[in-house]
Structure formats: structure tokens, C-alpha cells
């Protein structure tokens, strides 16, 4: 029953997961057995060679992560998590079984998609897309994500965001490229998928800005980033796949870095909200620098590796002449700057709004995880084609043309390319110059002793006013019409409606099982009579 094959695609995803797990390995945490089971299930998914093995891994992943989450999260959140993820699993099972009924085999290599009649293809695509959308949190199936990320263990959020959301991406590649093959896909359906991905990322970016909880912000940011990946994969060509894989790697390590950074702050201060934090720069400069590196990666700015994947995404969209999509992606990326700013300002800059007495000492293991993420981001920034070399083997194994590159330092995006090593050296040079100037100017600055020692539009602030800018960031956005629509609406009401309707019907139907014996007898006789009257010719 179990068939495994070691493929370059599986290797990539498994090494990513393994790196994240190893980075977190030094930090003391609970549920080691369940987390090992989770990692095993990921291994089963990534190295599976038949649909049933894949499904087994998929479901073990769902329930093992559920047991980890339900240890911390509220009943409602963990219920939401398991119902959505089992829904994804059952949709996957439905697709697998339909494919099997026509092909007669579960093995990847024996699935000839030609054998499936055309009218059954779209249902299969839709079932698979539902699975992928739920796992990768594409709207409107993202309802479970934010609460789950917020309420689960701070370090488990890392795994949820960095790895488990990528399982959906893996499934996309395995099914739509490896098993089915791009040539069978209808571009109409996948145009919609691409747009869903980018709309998800725009909406989630705006939602992220308006959050006061750090983990909710990162959760929305995660939704937005995975949205790009789905968009670019739905372009359905080799360079789209390459850009998607690149962004997968970047997002994994950026989220590893950022979530561990947030977890460190929560560990130190015990606070989870921006409005309760601020001014931590002076106490924890190292954490500040790590966070800045993380958000540079997240926003996709040079010189860090986040730019590489954004670059590939843009060039792919340009090449395919998807101008509108490109504008939407760029718009969403620009929005990402805003919430990145909130992360820096809300936590590290501004005036401190809290007392420092109850601070915990941060174990060094928290730094190790962040440094691993940082090193990879920097490494990929200097030698961007290191990843491309790996992707080329994947591209070849999936039947695409590999990308050429002149040297490892150069990233080739089709009609444009750049040299990561050069950019990094220029950046470092400028950085050193600025640092020197800042050092020179240091003596001329005046240090603020009291947080109220400022003038504020001519008013003297009193101690009750929250002067911390990160506190109010995003509030003014709701004045803009379409952003207000995004911020005030939520898919919550629809999912809640489904829940309420099901529970109400349960209460009604349940009444039948409480009726008295004479009525049961009556129902039986009535049933018999009705059927008799219908059936007798």
C-alpha cells in the first residue's frame, strides 16, 4: 500500500520542513511526540508515490496538528481548525477516488489523465482546489487560519505558517503539474484561481494593518504571501513554478524569523499587543536587527533575498502579459510595507508604554532559530541562483525547460537579470557610510528623558494619552471607501450562518428521537402504508 519515491521536489519541501524543525529544536517546548509525528506525516506527503500514501500523510498531518493546537487554543478555534482541515481532506479523498474510478490505479506514474472524461475534469479540479485553498488559506476558506495562528502555541504558529501552509502549495504542484499536467488544465478556471490568490493577498494585507495583536498581523501576512504563491503557480508555466517555489522558500524562512522574533517578545514581556509594547530597541537591539532583516525579506526589498522571489514573480507576470494581475500584485506588495512598518514601530520604536520589571530573560535558543533564518536570507541574496540550480532539477523532472544563468550570483528573470553579489556589496558599502555619518552626528542629538517630553501639535500631552504611533496605525485607512468595505466585512458571518443552521436543524431533527412509543408505532404504520400505496401497481 505504501509507495515512496525520492524526488527533487519532495527533497526541497522536506528539507525546508526539516530546517524549520531543527531550528526550533533547541527551544524547550511541549508535544515532542506529536510534533515528530507531524514531521513524519510531512515526510510521507512529500515522498509519497501514490495517492493513498499522500492522503494518509495528509490526514495524519491534520489530526496530529489538531492535537497540538487543541492543547492551547479554545474549543471553538480548535473545532474550526479540524473541521476545515478534515473538509480539505475529504475533498482530496473525493478527488482521489474519482480519479481512481477511471484510471484504476493510485500510482502517480500510472495515472493517465486522458482516461478521465472531460465532464469529470472540472469537478476534480474544483475538489483539489478546495483542498489547496483551505490548507493555504485562500479566501473564502481562510476563516480558520487567523484564530488558529493566534491561539496556538507561539512556537507552533511558526510551523503552521512556515510549513503547513506550504503543504497546500506542494499539493498544487504534485496534482496540477506532476499528475495531471498543465496541458489538460483549462486556463479560464486558473485565471480565476490567480485572481483569487491576489485578491486574498490584498484583502489580507489591509486586514493585517488594522490588527492590534502581533500574531494576528503575522497570520494575515502569511495569508497574503501564500496568496502570491498560488497566483504565480496558477500562471501555469515553468517560470511561474520557479517563482512560486522561490517564494515558498523565502516565505518559509521569513516567517520562521518573524514568528520566532514575536515569540521572543512575548516570552520576554508577556504582552501580545502592539498597544502594550514599544521602545524595546534599547533593551533588545539584536532582536530589533533580526526583525528588520525579517521585514526586509517580507516586503521583498533589495538587498535581501525577499527581492529575488518578488523579482521572479514580476518578470513572470510581465512575460505572460498579465498586466492587471501585475498591478494587483504590486499594489498588495506596497500594502505589505505598511504592516511591516507597524511591526517595527509598534514593538521596537516609539516610547515605551510599560514597565520593565517583569521581563523574563530570553534563552539563547530563540536567537539560534532566528539566525538560521537570517543566514539563509542573506546567503540567497548574495548567491540567488543557488536555489535556481535546485529548481532546475525539479523543472527538468517535471518536463519543463531549465533556466540558464551565467553565474551563481546572477538571477535571470527572462528578459531582465541582476547580480545579487554586486547589489549586496554596494548596499554594505552605503550602509557603512551611513553608519559612519550617524556615528559622527551622534553627539549632536538630544536624548529624551521622559516620554511626555515632546510637543504634540502645540499641546502638552498628559500621561493618559497613548503616544505610541503603532497604536493607531491603520485606523485612518478605514476612511478610504473600498478599504472600509474590506475591513468591516468578514467571511465569518457566512460560516457562522452555516454552523447555526446545522445546529438548529439538529435541534429540530433530534426531537424525533424523543417521541413516545405510540407515536413511533404510528410513524412505522404510516411509513408502511405510504410505501404500500406508492408501490402497488
Amino acid at each position: 500500500m505504501f509507495n515512496f519515491a525520492i524526488t527533487s521536489l519532495g527533497n526541497l519541501f522536506f528539507v525546508l520542513s526539516l530546517t524549520v524543525f531543527v531550528s526550533l529544536w533547541f527551544i524547550k517546548r511541549d508535544n515532542i511526540i506529536l510534533q515528530t509525528l507531524l514531521l513524519t506525516s510531512l515526510g510521507i506527503i512529500f515522498y509519497a508515490n501514490d495517492l493513498i500514501t499522500l492522503f494518509i500523510g495528509w490526514e495524519i498531518m491534520s489530526w496530529s496538528s489538531y492535537f497540538i493546537i487543541s492543547g492551547k487554543a479554545s474549543l471553538q478555534t480548535s473545532q474550526k481548525y479540524i473541521i476545515f482541515n478534515l473538509g480539505a481532506g475529504f475533498a482530496l479523498l473525493g478527488a482521489i477516488v474519482i480519479i481512481y474510478s477511471f484510471v484504476g490505479s493510485f500510482l502517480y506514474s500510472e495515472i493517465v489523465f486522458n482516461k478521465i472524461p472531460i465532464e469529470f475534469r472540472t469537478p476534480i479540479y474544483i475538489l483539489l482546489l478546495v483542498t489547496i485553498f483551505i490548507k493555504s488559506a485562500i479566501m473564502p476558506f481562510h476563516y480558520w487560519v487567523v484564530d488558529t495562528y493566534e491561539e496556538s502555541d507561539h512556537l507552533f504558529s511558526v510551523i503552521l505558517s512556515a510549513i503547513i501552509s506550504k503543504a497546500g502549495i506542494f499539493l498544487f504542484i504534485v496534482f496540477f503539474i506532476k499528475i495531471i499536467g498543465y496541458k489538460y488544465l483549462q486556463s479560464n478556471l486558473f485565471d480565476i484561481v490567480a485572481w483569487l490568490g491576489v485578491i486574498t493577498s490584498i484583502v489580507a494585507s489591509f486586514k493585517a494593518i488594522s490588527q492590534d495583536s502581533m500574531k494576528r498581523l503575522l497570520a494575515y501576512s502569511s495569508i497574503a504571501q501564500v496568496g502570491y504563491i498560488v497566483t504565480i503557480l496558477a500562471i501555469l508555466n515553468g517560470s511561474g513554478l520557479e517563482a512560486g517555489l522561490y517564494h515558498t522558500i523565502i516565505h518559509t524562512f521569513v516567517k520562521l524569523l518573524l514568528f520566532v522574533n514575536i515569540a521572543s517578545i512575548i516570552y520576554i514581556t508577556g504582552k501580545t499587543k502592539f498597544s502594550e509594547l514599544g521602545g524595546l530597541l534599547y533593551e533588545y537591539p539584536a532582536l530589533f536587527i533580526l526583525l528588520v532583516i525579517g521585514i526586509i525579506g517580507l516586503a521583498g526589498m533589495p538587498p535581501l533575498a525577499g527581492f529575488n522571489s518578488k523579482f521572479l514573480i514580476y518578470t513572470t507576470l510581465l512575460e505572460e502579459k498579465k498586466a492587471l494581475l501585475l498591478v494587483a500584485v504590486m499594489f498588495s506588495s506596497a500594502t505589505a510595507f505598511l504592516y511591516c512598518y507597524k511591526l517595527v514601530y509598534g514593538i521596537y520604536l516609539g516610547q515605551p508604554t510599560h514597565s520593565k520589571e517583569s521581563y523574563q530573560k530570553l534563552p539563547n535558543s530563540y536567537y539560534i532559530a532566528q539566525i538560521i533564518g537570517t543566514l539563509i536570507l542573506i546567503l540567497l541574496a548574495i548567491v540567488p541562483s543557488l536555489a535556481i540550480e535546485e529548481f532546475n532539477t525539479i523543472l527538468i523532472s517535471l518536463g519543463f525547460k531549465p533556466t540558464d544563468f551565467k553565474s551563481l550570483f546572477e538571477l535571470n528573470g527572462g528578459f531582465a537579470s541582476f547580480n545579487g553579489g554586486v547589489i549586496m556589496s554596494i548596499f554594505i558599502a552605503i550602509f557603512i557610510v551611513i553608519l559612519l555619518i550617524a556615528y559622527k552626528l551622534k553627539n549632536k542629538t538630544r536624548k529624551v528623558k521622559d516620554r511626555l517630553d515632546i510637543s504634540y501639535c502645540g499641546e502638552i500631552p498628559n500621561p493618559n494619552i497613548n503616544l505610541h504611533y503603532g497604536y493607531g496605525l491603520g485606523k485612518e485607512l478605514s476612511r478610504i471607501g473600498f478599504i472600509r468595505v474590506i475591513l468591516t466585512n468578514s467571511s465569518k458571518r457566512y460560516w457562522e450562518q452555516i454552523r447555526v443552521v446545522t445546529e438548529d436543524s439538529s435541534l429540530i431533527i433530534k426531537q424525533f428521537y424523543n417521541i413516545s412509543v405510540q407515536n413511533i408505532g404510528l410513524i412505522i404504520i404510516l411509513f408502511f402504508t405510504t410505501l404500500l400505496l406508492i408501490g402497488v401497481q
Binding site: 500500500m1 489530526w63 474510478s101 412505522i524
Partner: protein
């Protein structure tokens, strides 16, 4: 070796135990063990037919095919584990006698080769079930027992109507002969016979809309007894009902109807369970739901679906045995069975048992229930019943809601009551849990058996 031993031995033992009251429990377990050994040896030379020398129509014939042998062995096995579980407890003595009687009833049901015998064993098992229901000796139990008896007698009446109609029209009660002459009856008479059979067995197999009595019965009795209802009794009725249907080569419309009833039953039961506040009711609804799935599985004249259904019979029987016995431990400790007890007990062992049981019920890998569900679903897709397949998947999701809610309750931070479980009971529960995982990972041997059983049921009595 005669197959009559399987009825005669427990029957004799039941009388003998009246004289050895102190050793009753040991005798009971020993009898079950002996029957298991006998079953092991008799399986090699199947099929066997035996007639007791009466003239027709009263000829009593017993037929042991692969199908009936599988069900018989399953029932003996469950009864063995059940008695073994009870050995350490201060159980009342009558429970052992009644278990034996129930075993006689269900073995007779699956072995009988003529419909009048089926009626007799139908009554024996029913009457035992009524007494088992009233075993708690409180108002609730008596209320349940009387309810059960009234509804049960309605079922018997319908079965009797079917038998009388058949005998008046064809003049025989032997199942195979009826099958040969079934076409002699007029269309309306055939319809009346099948409908009466459906109502009679439908009540006993707890199928919507004939199952409104069932949940109350489950709640009225102790969890322990529910094991017998859920794992043994309903499975026997399902087997007999569909065995008859395939022997008589009934119209495919009839089977389509039972499949529809099955899926409605599954849906209604799972939705009802969502807001249930009592664990016994929750498990009862879950049983009704799974019986609905079995109805779907048995209704398609297709070897793959039937194989899955047989696999599900096995998995569901042992899973519900494990769950109801675990619930019994909790019920004895707390003296009640509301879902709140899931928030209050502290026992990692029981939690793992519940997790394995629930995940297997839901059909999640790597547990045995998954193989059953996968086989049924791929069979359904194979015959093009995509809507049925989708319905099963969606309704399973509803089932997940309440089962995972129960699991979430165990994480509650209320003050906990520690549960200690005797070693023998722990071993029984653990071995069942092991079996569930084992057959989930290495299903091939059981799948092979299930396939033989399935082809025996579909292909008629001599295969």
C-alpha cells in the same frame, strides 16, 4: 463436525450454569473460547448444509457459508471479549446467561437456511434484548424495555406477514427454494413481501425512519449492554436482511431504495448527534449513522462496495465494543453519562483509546476505519454513484464535529477525577486498539477475507 454445536453448546451451557452459579462467569468465558476454537476448525470445509429431518415446510436447515461463518466468528469473538471484560467486574450473574442467549439468537439468525427459523431466532434474540434492556432495574430501564418490546413486536408482526404471504403463495419456507420460486408470485405480492421484510428488519437494524425508538433504548441501558446491541445484534439483522435480498435476487430498484434510506439514515443520525448532551446518546447516534453506511454498502450489487461494507462491519463492531466498554468505565465511576464527564476524567490511557476509536469511526488514516471507508468510496465511484460518495464525505464531516468536540473536552482545565482501570480490562481495550491500528496499516489479509465473504453474500448460498 456438525454446525449445530454452535447453537447447542451455548444453549446447554446456559442451562448447566444454573447449577454452578459460582463458576458461571468462568464457564461463560470458556464456552465462548471453545466456540472460537470450533469456528476456527470448521472454517476449513465450507460451505456446509445440514437439515434436521422434518418434512417441508418445517424442515430446519442450517447453512454455513463464508458469509455466515464470518459473522458467526465475529459475534463469538466479541462475545468472548465482552465476557472476559465482565469477569473481573462485580457484574450481575444474569448478564452472562443473557449474553449466551443473545449469542444463540444471533448465531441461529445467521446460520438459518429457512425463513421460519429466522423468525424463531429473531424472537429469541429480541426477547433477550428486552431483558438486557431492563437489567438496570430502574424506571428508565423498564420504560425502555417496554418501549423496545412494543416496537419489537411490531417488527415481528411484519416479519410474520412476510412469512405467511410467502407460504400461502409458494408453499415453502426454505430460503433457496423461495429464491427459485420468487417470480411465481404476482408483482404486488412480491412488493408486499419485500416491504414487510424491510419494515420488520428495518426496525431491528435501526434505520430511519424506523429507528426513533433506538436512542432511548441505548440511553436506558448501561453502556456495557449497548455494546451487545451495537456490535452484535444490529449486525446480525443487517446480514440476514441483505443475505435474503441477494438470495432472492430482488429487483435493483429495491436495493436502490435501501441505499437511499441508508444515506438518509446516516445524515439524520449524524446531524441529530451534533447537539446531543449525553455520551450514550452520542454513541447511539453514531451507531445509527454507521448502520446507515452499512446499508449503503450492502445495497450495491458490487463486490468492491460489499468488501468495504464487510470490512466496516468488522471495524465498527470492534471499535464500538472498545468505545462502549471505555464509556462503561467512566459511567461506573461518575454514575452518569452526560458529555460533561469528558471534561472531568483523568486517564491518558482512556484518552488514547477514545482518540483511536473516534479517528477510526471517522475513517481517518492510519486506522482501520479508513480502509473500510476508502473501499466503499472507491467502489461507489466505480459504479458511478458520485452523489452517494459525496454525501458520505459531507456527512462524515458532521460526524467529525461532535467527535472532535468530545476530544477537545478532555483538555478542559476542570479539576479531574483519576480513573484506575484493572489490568485485564486495560489489556482488552489495548488489544482492540492495537487491532484497529494493525488493520489500518496491514489491511490485506482482512480485505481478502472480506472479499470472499462479500462474494459469498452476493453470489448466493453455495459460493
Amino acid at each position: 463436525m456438525s454446525i449445530l454445536y454452535f447453537i447447542a453448546i451455548p444453549l446447554l451451557a446456559s442451562f448447566l450454569t444454573l447449577f454452578f452459579k459460582n463458576y458461571l462467569r468462568y464457564i461463560s468465558v470458556a464456552i465462548n473460547a471453545i466456540l472460537l476454537v470450533l469456528a476456527y476448525f470448521i472454517i476449513e470445509n465450507l460451505p456446509i448444509t445440514e437439515n434436521l429431518s422434518f418434512d417441508s415446510p418445517l424442515a430446519i436447515s442450517f447453512v454455513l457459508t463464508k458469509g455466515s461463518a464470518f459473522f458467526m466468528t465475529l459475534f463469538i469473538g466479541i462475545s468472548f471479549l465482552f465476557s472476559l471484560y465482565n469477569i473481573t467486574q462485580n457484574s450481575r450473574r444474569d448478564i452472562f446467561i443473557l449474553t449466551n442467549m443473545l449469542l444463540i439468537g444471533v448465531i441461529g439468525l445467521v446460520l438459518s437456511g429457512d425463513i421460519f427459523n429466522i423468525y424463531i431466532f429473531f424472537e429469541i434474540s429480541s426477547i433477550t434484548a428486552y431483558i438486557l434492556t431492563s437489567l438496570n432495574r430502574d424506571a428508565k430501564a423498564y420504560n425502555g424495555a417496554i418501549k423496545y418490546m412494543i416496537i419489537g413486536s411490531i417488527a415481528s408482526i411484519f416479519l410474520l406477514i412476510a412469512i405467511i404471504t410467502i407460504y400461502l403463495n409458494i408453499g415453502t419456507l426454505n430460503l433457496i427454494t423461495i429464491g427459485e420460486r420468487f417470480g411465481y408470485m404476482g408483482a404486488n405480492t412480491q412488493f408486499l413481501v419485500l416491504l414487510s421484510l424491510f419494515i420488520g428488519f428495518g426496525i431491528k437494524t435501526e434505520i430511519f425512519p424506523l429507528n426513533f425508538w433506538a436512542v432511548d433504548i441505548y440511553q436506558a441501558t448501561s453502556s456495557k449492554i449497548n455494546t451487545l446491541f451495537s456490535s452484535i445484534l444490529s449486525k446480525a439483522y443487517i446480514f440476514v436482511f441483505f443475505h435474503i435480498a441477494y438470495l432472492w435476487n430482488v429487483d435493483s430498484k429495491y436495493l436502490l431504495f435501501t441505499a437511499m434510506i441508508g444515506v438518509i439514515s446516516f445524515g439524520i443520525a449524524e446531524v441529530s448527534s451534533l447537539t446531543s448532551k449525553d455520551t450514550k446518546r452520542v454513541f447511539a447516534y453514531s451507531t445509527l449513522g454507521q448502520l446507515g453506511v452499512l446499508f449503503i454498502g450492502f445495497s450495491y450489487n458490487n463486490i468492491t462496495i460489499m468488501t468495504g461494507a464487510i470490512f466496516l462491519v468488522f471495524m465498527h463492531s470492534i471499535t464500538k465494543l472498545m468505545l462502549f466498554l471505555s464509556l462503561d468505565i467512566l459511567e461506573q465511576r461518575f454514575g452518569q453519562s452526560s458529555i460533561e464527564i469528558f471534561k472531568q476524567f483523568k486517564s491518558p490511557f482512556l484518552i488514547i483509546i477514545f482518540i483511536i476509536g473516534f479517528l477510526s469511526l471517522l475513517g481517518l488514516p492510519p486506522f482501520g476505519g479508513f480502509i473500510a471507508k476508502l473501499t466503499i468510496l472507491s467502489g461507489l465511484a466505480g459504479v458511478g454513484a458520485y452523489i452517494m460518495m459525496g454525501a458520505i464525505l459531507v456527512i462524515s464531516l458532521v460526524e467529525a464535529v461532535y467527535l472532535f468536540r468530545l476530544l477537545s473536552y478532555t483538555k478542559d482545565t476542570q479539576p479531574k477525577v483519576k480513573i484506575s482501570i484493572p489490568l485485564l480490562q486495560k489489556a482488552i481495550l489495548a488489544s482492540i486498539a492495537f487491532a484497529i491500528i494493525y488493520f489500518g496499516i496491514f489491511p490485506n489479509a482482512l480485505l481478502d477475507i472480506s472479499q470472499q465473504v462479500a462474494s459469498s453474500i452476493i453470489g448466493g448460498v453455495h459460493v
